[in-house]
Structure formats: C-alpha cells, structure tokens
Symmetry: C2
Subunit: 416 residues, 2 copies
C-alpha cells in the first residue's frame, strides 16, 4: 500500500512551525508496511487542496490529510473535500452532542463556529476524536481511502492509532510485520556496518536492516514481513541475538529505551544513588536524566559549578589543582568526582569540565576539549573528548558520552 500525506495550513509554509506530524505518520505507517510516496504541504486554499487530492489519488491507495478542521474561518478543508467528491454537507448530531457535553464539563459555552464544525461531507464516515472537538473523516472512492484529521499532533495521533489503524490493518490483510530496534552507543554507523557485514549479507529477502544514526548513537532496526507470524518472530529474534553478540559492548537497550532510563534502571535495581558535577554542560546532563519520570529512584541530585570558586566551595576542589592544571583537566574532574561523592553522599558520581565554545579555547585546549570522570569510592575512570566548534552540539554530545561512561562503569561494577 502506498500513501501520500497532505498537510494543510500556512503555519508550515511560512516556517512558523516545523512539520513533525508527517515524520510521525511516516514512521508509524512504515512499521505497518505502508510506504509514503510523497509529503505535500499546502496553504488553506480550496483549489490547491482539490488539485492535491486529485494528484495524490493518481499514485496512492491512501491519502492522509491533516489540518484545516478548526473553527476559524480560514479552515476550509471540509468544504474542499465535499466539492472534490461532489457531495453536500450533513449535520452530524452525535458530534454536536459530544462538543456540547465537553464545553458543559469545562463550564464554557459553545459558539456558532462550534456548531459549524459539525457539518460534514455527506459521504464521510466519522472517526471519533477523544482529544478535541473536530472528528476525523474517512472517505472511500474506487478502493482508495482518504482520511482527514485535525493538525493538532495529539488529536491526529489518537485518530490515526485508535480509529484508522484498525481499518488499515483489515485492508492490508494477513501479512504480519515484525520490528525490533537495537540501540547502540559509542561507535559510528560505518564501523558498525563493517562489523555486521556477514550478517547483512546473509539476511533473508523478507527481512531488512536499517541504520538510524543520531548524535553519538546508532539505532539498528530489523523489519520483517511474512504470512507466517511465528516463523517471522523467531527469525527476527535470532538475528537480533546474532547482532547483539557481534557488537555486545555497544548495545544498551531495545526499542523504546533511552540511555538515561537504561542507566537509571540498573542503578535503581542495585539501590545505587547518582550524583553529578557539571561545569561546561551547565545542567544539561541533569536535565536529560530528570526528563524521565522515576529519576528520583536513583538520582540524588547535582551541582552546576560554573565558576571556579563554586568548584572549590561546593566540591572542595583544591585551589592549587585549579591553578596548576586549569579547570579543564583530568585532575580537576577527578577531584570533582571525589567532592560529589562526599558532599552529595552519592554512590556513583560523574563530573565534567570543558570548553563548550565558541570562545575560551587555547592552543593546547581548543574549543571542544572536554574532560569527564566517573567513579565511586574505590575507582575513578577519566576520558578526554575532542569535539567540534559548535557549542550546542558539544554539550549534547557530551551528554551522550557521559551517560555511556556511567553505563560502562556499571557494567564493570562489583555489585554487593
């Protein structure tokens, strides 16, 4: 099955918002074996909407339309769709009842614009929207499906996952799809590919391996398609195992894990508490950890010791060490780890000090020089990174490297 995505609304064309909806839809549909042929963003213009529908219907079995269903006057998708199919508009009583109930619950009154929202092209099948006022609409013409959904991300996601996907699955019939994503950190795409060469060469035709690189991380996605579900599952499982064996030291998790939750899960299981001492990353590592619910189970806290004075005052880093080696040095991050273990009473501490840039570099410590240390009362490990000239990239990459250092430290940790 081939699909076209059409997003309607000036916000994307004038660059006011980035179109994240399409990437989300593309990813989800791909996982169900539907390939996206084209993504088109157009304005709230009736002629343009109709032209785009006509064009998409020429080469796609599924046309997904988002946006243009709000109660304001420039939202004209519904009228364009009715015109395109040559039908009139019907008032949809159940939607009106639902909207009235929602507003009554909020203690607010509806406006005429809300009633207007309940007129739908007469050939539309209504897709219930639990998350907002405008429902989705499903149209079928010559074996082709057209779906119109609101542009608000969580409304679109609800309708697509809960209302549309069951319909699509039925259409797609008895072909089973299976996906498994292996999460790696610490090595680039091409080196991983060369280590997996023999596995890739022997992949059966119905299973694909995709490399999805990110900053300091690469996700490996195995996708298979078959009419024999249990066989497919065991094939994918066996390949997953073979890949993990080949690059075991790089693999930190699967599917929806992330590096912070992975590290956190291990620490929580062993009752260990983490403390952080950040200089150049300025709180970024702490904020990555605490973005995940449940961080308090292992995260004691951290200090952002941006000034040298604070490194001494909060972490007892020696003035002499700062003076002789400079704040960006192996010696200072080592003392920062010791200070964090003492002052924050953490079991494991991570410290970072570096030159994020764009200024502050010197000949022997250029912008992008970052020192990291991780340790406990028995053992401290250090690492120097030589990164680029871009401040934000340097901070983000250091965040990944820091979490990976903690992960590796835990792998070698002697648990009681």
């Amino acid at each position: 099955m081939t699909a076209t995505i059409i997003t309607i609304g000036d916000e994307i064309l004038i660059g006011q918002i980035v179109d994240t909806n399409s990437a989300w839809m593309g990813n989800l549909l791909n996982l169900h074996g539907i390939s996206i042929r084209e993504i088109v963003s157009i304005s709230d213009d009736e002629t343009q909407i109709k032209d785009s529908l006509a064009l998409a219907s020429k080469h796609s079995d599924l046309v997904l339309i988002t946006g243009g269903l709000g109660p304001t006057k420039d939202d004209i998708t519904k009228k364009a769709m009715a015109d395109y199919f040559g039908v009139g508009m019907d008032f949809h009583e159940p939607t009106w009842e639902r909207i009235k109930k929602m507003f009554a619950k909020w203690g607010r009154s509806t406006t005429p614009a809300h009633k207007e929202q309940c007129f739908m092209p007469s050939n539309a099948k209504i897709l219930f929207n639990k998350m907002g006022t405008a429902p989705g609409m499903l149209f079928e013409e010559n074996e082709r499906l057209f779906v119109s959904m609101p542009g608000v991300p969580y409304e679109m996601k609800y309708i697509l996952e809960h209302q549309l996907l069951p319909v699509l699955k039925e259409k797609l019939g008895k072909v089973f799809l299976e996906h498994r994503t292996i999460l790696t950190v610490g090595e680039g795409e091409s080196r991983i590919a060369s280590r997996l060469e023999s596995i890739e060469e022997n992949l059966p035709a119905h299973i694909k391996l995709a490399y999805l690189p990110g900053l300091g991380q690469v996700r490996l996605r195995l996708s298979g398609k078959s009419t024999n579900e249990s066989l497919l599952k065991s094939e994918i499982e066996a390949l997953k195992k073979a890949i993990v064996e080949e690059i075991s030291e790089l693999v930190y998790g699967f599917d929806k894990d992330n590096l912070a939750t992975e590290v956190g899960g291990k620490m929580t299981n062993h009752g260990l508490r983490l403390g952080l001492a950040e200089s150049c990353t300025g709180g970024y590592i702490a904020s990555q950890i605490t973005q995940n619910s449940g961080a308090s189970a292992y995260f004691e806290g951290g200090v952002v010791v941006y000034s040298n004075e604070l490194k001494e005052r909060l972490l007892d880093v020696n003035t002499a060490t700062l003076e002789s080696h400079g704040a960006v040095s192996e010696e200072v991050v080592t003392e920062m780890v010791k200070g964090t273990l003492n002052k924050l009473s953490a079991d494991i501490a991570l410290a970072v000090s570096g030159i994020a840039g764009p200024t502050g570099g010197t000949a022997d410590k250029p912008v992008g020089t970052i020192w990291l240390a991780v340790g406990n009362k028995d053992r401290i490990v250090t690492q120097r990174l030589n990164l680029s000239k871009d401040r934000v990239q340097n901070i983000k990459y250091t965040g990944v490297a820091a979490l990976n250092m903690i992960r590796k430290f835990l792998l070698e940790f002697k648990f009681n």
Copy 2:
C-alpha cells in the same frame, strides 16, 4: 515571487528525520517577500524528481531543491536535473581542486565517489559551498530559477544565505522589506490581541502584524513592504513604539534576543551573579541559561537538589519546614533561595520545587503544582503555578516562568 520547496530523500518519508530545513527556508524567504506555495518531500527517484520539477515550474518562479547530492549511490538528483533540462554533465575542475584540498588538510584521501561529485549538469551555475563537498547549483529557464542544494542543514543554510540570497535580492528589485519582532512573555495570544485591537485596526495596508505563539511566550512580528525605504523604516519604528507602550510589562526584547540572554545581559551590566536551586526542573533552567555563550559573565552556578536530603545538606533547608509544609511549598522554595544566596554566594537566587508528573500528585497538590521563588538579601518574591499533566511541558513552561520572574525582579531592583 512564489516558490516551491522540494526535499529529496527517503529519510523524511520514513520518518527517520523531521524536515526542519523547509521551515527555516520558508521563514527566511518570507522575510524577503517570497511566499512558499508548496513544500514537497519525495524519494530519491529519478522520475518522481522530474515530475515534481515540472509541476513546480508551472506555478512557481523559484524552485528550491534540497538533498540527493551526497557521494552515495542513491543520490541521483544531479542526473535527474540534467535530464530534466536536456543537457549533459561537465566535470567542474575548481570543485575537484577544492575537495582535494579539503581532504589533504584533514589528512584523508578522496575516493572515486568524490570525483563523481564534481560532474555537474552543463547548464548549472555553481554556488560555492564553504561548509562541505557538494556545491549548490543554480539553473535559469524561462525567467524561472531552480536551485539545488545539499540537505545537510548548515550547508544548505550557508549556500542559501551567502550565495543565493544576493541573486534573489537583485531579481526582486527595488522593493524594500522591513521586519521587526517584539518578544513578549507572560500573556496569551488572544489577550495581547485584544489590547492591541486599535493599533491593528489602524495598520496601513502595506504593514502586517503576525502573532507567533510559543510556550509561555508570544512573538509579534511587524512586516512592511514599500518602495520608500526610509519612510517604511520610520513607520515600522513608530508602530513598534506604540505596541511596546501598550503592553510594556510583557516586552522583554526584540528580534533575535531570548529570555536567558536578556536576563543575562542585564545582570552582566550591573555586575550581579545568579545562583539557581532546582528540584522538579532537574537542571533544565541551568541548561537553558548555559546554552548561550557568555553565561559565565553572570551565572555563578546552581544545585539540582532532587532529594529532600540534598535540600538540607546543600542549602540548609530546615527538616522541620520540609516535614510540616512538604518539599513543594512556598516555605521551602523561600528557604532554598536563602540557602542559595549563602552557599553559592550569589547576588540573586531563583529556586523551584514542584510536581512535574506524571505521578506524585495529591488532592491539594496535583501534578503540575510548582512553587517558584526569586530574591536577594533584601527581598524574596514567590509564585505558584498550576500546570498540566505532561511532565516535559511542565518543566519547559516552568523554565520560561522562572526566567520571567528573574526579569521582573530585575525591573524592580534598586541598582547601586
């Protein structure tokens, strides 16, 4: 002038990356009076590329193509373009010399694929790419411009800003455009709109006012177009002044400022040092501040006191206060400010404690309850926020509110 953007590459269609390039281009071109009619994402498919070029050329004066210029085998944009224009390929010696020099500098050797990159459609005008190997290409046909650029964001941005924009400006001729963005925080779009109603009603036809809402912030953009540059500048300036007067307490800056740099600039000017004590935001506020180069001029540092024990240990918050009022309380954030002023020797301190969610809420302190305090040795101001159920949104919104509290505190601050 009307433009179409065509992005080429499967990464966008399968949802592996989000298309941020198009939003950036749309925004920049709009500022120069060029409106985007359509954004199209397609696959690395020769026929599809040619079809899209033909379609775009029907209704656009400018066609911007990104992606498909890399040295790997699935990048076939150049061949499709040559076919579309019915021309052959020429070897571009200066590009080859440039690539060889780049690789020599890095101490790496070129591959045959790099030489392949130097063949260009013979009707292309080469646009120098300072940031990477593949140059941009400019084609002109029947008064219509076609531009092909790499998909790597910083390469595309360099070519568009430095190589293409001068060409476009010449084409656009002697119409002057003027933009001014007024940055506000602390009030929603519709309330601001009602306060600016009379100004909006009296806007001259050649000047527009756009509302660009973000989390807790709204940007107001004045855009004007005229043949009389100095008159236009003074008109925009007068409108800007009128708007600022009407909503002065909400305005924190203009154009490319951000809330953190604005607060930081004021503190730096007065030689004041900032200290932070974060609980539920977990380092997010510190990381927002330190993302900007130059933060060390006023940012002393911060503590992420995620556990209650750390609130006592690092900031001397009283056990009794924590026990009787709970960690999420006006009393605790007030003590956290005092502790931060003392222990971090900051001139101004901000503290935050709350329930970011999704769990941890109670009947009188539901998820989204956040207490903030800001102060110096003379005066402490507190605020309670009642936010939503979404953890990440709560953290981000609190970040904006926190910086705005510091901003307002500074406005009333008695500087020596």
